[in-house]
């Protein structure tokens, strides 16, 4: 199938224009992770985190989790922006254009990834202000790789849901029964080691678990799984979800 570079670019650019114009929305979407960082970070400041070596403290444990959370929410929202376009009619304008569906998917992924990464990086910056210390520039580079994989995974997932839903009604259900469980199961806030084994088993089916653990491994140098396991799992999830998302979008009808 043909790839239309211009179409990908114009879809990406539309996302950028909308992102820059929706300042209140950015502030809104960043408020929650910043509150989490501030209140949990300060509240549990002196708590030792079981299974975590080094002197990073709870903020060291928390910050990668909150970065992961920011990416989880922003990426799945971006994936599901198909739904918004459907609601406001713009999806038809996109679907009727003489552009391959693959290009449409790639354009959406490009735009969604950029905005999600920007939000993740902003939260990373905020966590620095709250006393988070990471291991150095090289670790940040590896951190960005994990962030990218998290973004891909959940944009793909958002696309799957959005392609199968006809209106906004399913949106709340997905938020409450898919995205929030992914967040809590990932060990973003609490160490997995404290969960009963049933929940832990579920955690290991959650892509974000590997994303957050990988971020901890590269940023603060301590993790519950080997970093290569995290990387392999995350890369696998990203590939599968992107493929599923693209497939769902391609086979969905335009109206």
């Amino acid at each position: 199938m043909k790839i239309h570079g211009t179409a990908i670019y114009v879809l990406w650019r539309r996302e950028m224009i909308r992102f820059v114009r929706a300042k209140s929305r950015i502030v809104g979407s960043l408020a929650m992770p910043i509150f989490f960082l501030a209140f949990l970070g300060l509240g549990f400041r002196r708590m030792p985190v079981p299974g975590m070596g080094g002197g990073a403290g709870y903020i060291g444990f928390l910050a990668p989790g909150i970065i992961g959370m920011t990416l989880l929410f922003s990426s799945s929202m971006q994936g599901m922006s198909v739904l918004w376009d459907r609601e406001f009619g713009f999806l038809k304008e996109i679907m009727v254009a003489p552009v391959s569906r693959v290009s449409l998917v790639l354009g959406r992924i490009a735009g969604g990834t950029t905005t999600s990464m920007l939000q993740g990086i902003l939260i990373f910056g905020a966590s620095l202000l709250m006393g988070f210390r990471f291991r150095g520039p090289a670790s940040l580079l590896f951190g960005l790789v994990f962030m990218l994989l998290i973004a891909f995974t959940f944009i793909g997932m958002g696309l799957v849901f959005a392609s199968r839903m006809k209106d906004m009604q399913g949106f709340g259900i997905v938020m409450n029964f898919v995205i929030f469980p992914f967040f809590f199961l990932s060990g973003a806030l609490t160490p997995l080691e404290n969960f009963p084994w049933v929940i832990r088993a579920l955690s290991y089916a959650d892509p974000l678990t590997y994303g957050v653990d990988g971020l901890r491994a590269v940023l603060i140098g301590t993790s519950s799984l080997p970093v290569l396991v995290d990387l392999a799992a995350m890369a696998g999830f990203a590939l599968i979800m992107l493929f599923l998302g693209a497939y769902s979008f391609e086979t969905s009808e335009g109206v």
Binding site: H4, T6, A7, Y9, V10, R14, I17, R18, R21, A22, F88, G89, F90, L91, K92, E93, I94, M95, V96, A97, P98, V99, S100, K166, D167, E253, G254, V255
Partner: protein, 332 residues
Amino acid sequence: MDAIRVEGLVKTFDGFTAVDGVSFAVEEGELFGLLGPNGAGKTTTINMLSTLLRPTAGAATVAGYDVARDRDAVRQSIGIVFQEPALDGRLTGRENLEFHTMMYGLGKAERRRRIDEVLTLVELTDKASTLVDKYSGGMKRRLEIARGLTHRPKVLFLDEPTLGLDTQTRRHIWEYVRKLNKDAGVTIILTTHYMEEADFLCDRVAIMDHGRFAALDTPARLKDTLGGDVVSLEIEGHTAPFLEALAREPWIKRTRVHEDVLSLTMDRGERRIAELVVMAQEHGVTVTCVNLHKPSLEDVFLHFTGRTIREHEADQSERLRAAMRRHGWGRR
């Protein structure tokens, strides 16, 4: 070559048949109308022709390309203005047009030229840098029509182009549509449930009801099928001799008497009124009131479907919409 050829087109949704075996052809340069109440299957037909929906059965070509097999080629050849706004309100008018022209692969210089051209055409040049969210309904409609034209489509689909607009804006849009069709030679297929719109604009009209065509012809000939104009005379006096005299006139096609009102069907009724009044006087009948009724498409619709379009609006469309909502496939 025909711009559009449709043979036995069918679309069913979960056992509900929205379009039930429609066949027609639209010539190049023609302005073709689909007239019918909401829920008649007009939009579904348009959606299949524009590749947004896949036909359940039947075949169609647009600009020579098959809508099921050559989807990209069809999309490249058409422009479409949807029934409900399909603009990005967070972008300006110009940005919406830029998005569109880039999606259609126009070069940079051509993009600028075409966008300026169409903005002038729909008189939105001043508002080009305003966010579309701030546009009025009529401005949005004009922008969408402009957008449908930027890439010079061979065939333009207009789905209820003037729905919900005030009379003045509607007139304006009719003029644009006419100009496009006559000057630029774009083949246009439009759906409407406004009789006067179909009558004013279309070369040929298909009357659609329950997913099928009830009739298809030029507005004039559709009206002719009703037999012509109706002249109604309110009369007083002894009418029998007058009625006998009328029965001998070959140009009167049908005579009906209802109480003191005499209804006569004929061609070109306006030219016969004086003659009729004189005849009445000659036979000792006084005419107290004359009424000439030219058949409208409304009458044609009534003739072919047994109901007026407003009666359809009232019950049938509501029922269909409820069924559509139940099946969860949209609000159209």
